[in-house]
């Protein structure tokens, strides 16, 4: 199968059962993986949606609908890295809201919009760093502590923006979802670009591989001299920064900022990551999977809208999908695990 065995006959495996087990056939490695399941589901969903409504199969329409979900999808990409490394973060939706409120409040107060945007990104980084410190230095379990911080950040957004809806942004800022690049809405272009960059990073760089190693066995990674803390902290900060960017994209799309921006977003982000075949316990997953899963969700949500299924029923579907996806990936991975 690999050239190792062909070029060097003396390396042929010994016959006793003590020696290496036969490797999985190549076709299995390529095809039997969760990302393929996602791809299949994507085709199925696309088919069903088109059958439900012929208006669906219109690229422009799909791309435009995608802009509603791209902000979460962007975050889901970075969240994938965090989950692969063995942690989790439920606070990005709240980070989006607070950093967007910081941006809007500063803008309203007369600060130049560029500075306001910069401040928003810094806020995002700080929030991410705060999460990171609590998890990495104080060794608190990431899942519960980010529930605490999500409440905290959402509260801070409330304090800053109150019940108001802040608007009045310059015309060049708003409506980014109506601006196109070769027929594709800019947010979607951005999403694809980030997916490519992160995908390359995760799959092809040394640090990317180390993220997998950390998630597979934090103990072994530590022993091998991998800078576990530094890498995880960077991921938390990156997530914070991405959240603030996503927050501003939302502000542009809605032309306004409210404290309750992206409520319930936590579920959709985690869902995209899980549907993409990332293992909840870390060590397995891919950007490609999350990318496909994001599109899957876009197709499902848009398809349901077009078929006039009430938006609230989508919650049922989301919830079901999350449970089904973790059960399925758990089943696939648990068999081949340790």
């Amino acid at each position: 199968m690999s050239d190792t065995t062909q070029a060097r006959p003396e390396q042929k495996p010994a016959l006793s059962s003590h020696e290496a087990a036969a490797p999985r056939p190549l076709w299995q490695v390529v095809l039997i993986r969760p990302e393929v399941m996602t791809l299949v589901l994507l085709f199925v969903a696309f088919g069903v949606a088109t059958w439900l409504s012929p208006f669906f199969a219109d690229t422009t329409f799909i791309l435009e609908s995608a802009t509603f979900y791209v902000e979460f999808a962007l975050i889901a990409l970075v969240l994938t890295l965090i989950i692969i490394s063995g942690e989790i973060d439920l606070s990005p939706a709240a980070m989006m809201a607070f950093s967007a409120c910081v941006f809007a409040a500063l803008f309203k107060a007369g600060v130049p919009i560029g500075v306001a945007m910069g401040a928003s990104v810094v806020t995002g980084a700080l929030m991410g760093a705060f999460n990171g410190v609590l998890v990495l230095w104080f060794k608190l379990p990431s899942i519960i502590v980010t529930i605490g911080t999500l409440t905290l950040y959402r509260g801070l957004a409330q304090v800053l923006a109150g019940d108001r809806s802040i608007s009045g942004f310059p015309s060049w800022f708003i409506g980014i979802d109506w601006k196109y690049w070769f027929g594709v809405p800019i947010p979607v272009v951005f999403f694809v670009l980030v997916a490519i960059v992160l995908g390359v990073f995760l799959a092809l760089t040394v640090t990317g591989r180390q993220i997998y190693q950390i998630g597979t066995s934090p103990e072994a990674a530590w022993h091998a001299g991998i800078r576990v803390r530094r890498i995880k902290m960077s991921l938390f900060v990156l997530l914070g920064v991405t959240s603030s960017v996503a927050g501003m994209l939302t502000a542009s799309r809605l032309a306004s900022v409210r404290y309750d921006m992206a409520t319930g977003g936590e579920l959709q982000m985690v869902l995209m990551v899980m549907l993409g075949g990332t293992y909840i316990f870390g060590g397995r997953g891919s950007i490609a999977g999350t990318f496909l899963a994001a599109w899957l969700l876009i197709v499902i949500a848009t398809g349901m809208n077009v078929a006039n299924i009430p938006i609230t029923s989508q919650l049922i579907v989301m919830g079901l999908l999350l449970i089904v996806s973790i059960v399925a990936t758990n089943a696939i991975y648990a068999r081949t695990q340790r």
Partner: protein, 331 residues
């Protein structure tokens, strides 16, 4: 040194009590109208629903799990009960209560089954069911709220009338639930098994504890109590709305439980502590507006409280492990 850990736990409840007194004193000095019976009544009414659900969540946490779907379970039971009252005007309220509790139990059992059968982390499972159940709420109600005129007067009167000392029935029910939880957890075999399971899940089956049964039980109880809280929601607020009822509820409850000294790692926590935790959060939520602080700080407070409680938890555990190591080494 041996009393060290035990005293720390006692200090926790004493600490919360002290905080309660402190906050009351502080706010009372700044705003004397705070120290009235009226305030006590408002605080008392603010907490029963949280208290009831907190009893359930406490049991789940002690067993080393988490239930994030309680707000949605509450909403589902609430809306079904509300719709029953609306469509069957002569229905006795007990019927509504029974149905709500039964539904809650069922949904809780689903959570438990998912955790036990597929061996999934309860936090992710209940994150999914949080959404799933909320969706069901919208589905069955057609996204319509149950208006106040359909809620039976006898149900609403639970929040307004009182058998003794002006304490509303609602509060008495909540306290009764707390007492029942205490008796169950502290004085029955199953209750102690819940603590044992959370304290050492590996040793539990070796000592004859039926792990599956106990796990299903805690989720079922959490669901049942959320269901009860759901039907009482109609009593307290006079309506049920699929988009409002129970939203964000789980975070408030978790904050209260965690403040009250229940550990995320299981095995630790008392009913008294949880009650005090609920009281503390309730007190703060009432005190903030009195002080002129916008109610928006409530979430900030809740979030900070969760983080702080986790930090304290961690420090206590570390200190006791270090103390053990010292004791061993001096041998």
């Amino acid at each position: 040194m041996r009393d060290f850990v035990r005293t720390l736990i006692h200090r926790r409840e004493a600490g919360i009590f002290a905080m309660l007194l402190l906050i009351t004193a502080l706010v009372g000095t700044m705003e004397p109208r705070f120290l009235t019976l009226e305030t006590a009544r408002i605080v008392a009414l603010a907490i029963p629903l949280i208290l009831i659900a907190a009893m359930g969540q406490m049991m789940v946490l002690v067993a080393r799990h988490v239930d994030l779907s309680i707000g949605s379970i509450m909403a589902f039971s609430s809306i079904i009960a509300g719709m029953m009252f609306r469509d069957l005007p002569d229905l006795p309220i007990m019927a509504g209560v029974v149905v709500a509790i039964a539904l809650g139990t069922g949904l809780g059992l689903v959570n438990g089954l998912l955790v036990v059968i597929f061996k999934l982390p309860s936090i992710i499972v209940t994150l999914g069911t949080l959404s799933l159940y909320r969706g069901l709420v919208f589905l069955v109600s057609d996204a319509r709220q149950v208006d106040p005129q359909f809620i039976p007067r006898s149900l609403i009167s639970l929040s307004q009338t009182s058998p003794v000392f002006g304490i509303p029935w609602l509060v008495i029910i909540a306290l009764a639930v707390a007492v029942a939880t205490y008796l169950f957890l502290d004085h029955t075999r199953l209750g102690r098994q819940i603590y044992a399971l959370g304290s050492n899940p590996v040793a539990a089956p070796l000592r004859g504890i039926k792990v599956v049964r106990v796990t299903l039980l805690v989720f079922a109880l959490s669901g049942a109590l959320s269901g009860l809280a759901g039907v009482l929601y109609a009593s307290r607020f006079g309506y049920v709305n699929p988009g409002i009822t129970g939203v964000g509820f789980e975070f408030t409850v978790i904050a209260a439980v965690v403040v009250g000294g229940v550990s995320i790692n299981g095995g630790v926590g008392t009913v008294l502590g949880t009650v005090l935790g609920v009281l503390l959060l309730g007190l703060v939520s009432v005190a903030l507006p009195v002080l002129g602080v916008s109610a928006f700080w409530q979430d900030v407070f809740n979030g900070a409280v969760i983080v702080l409680a986790l930090l304290i938890d961690r420090t206590v555990r570390e200190r006791s492990t270090r103390a053990l190591a010292q004791a061993r080494s001096s041998g």
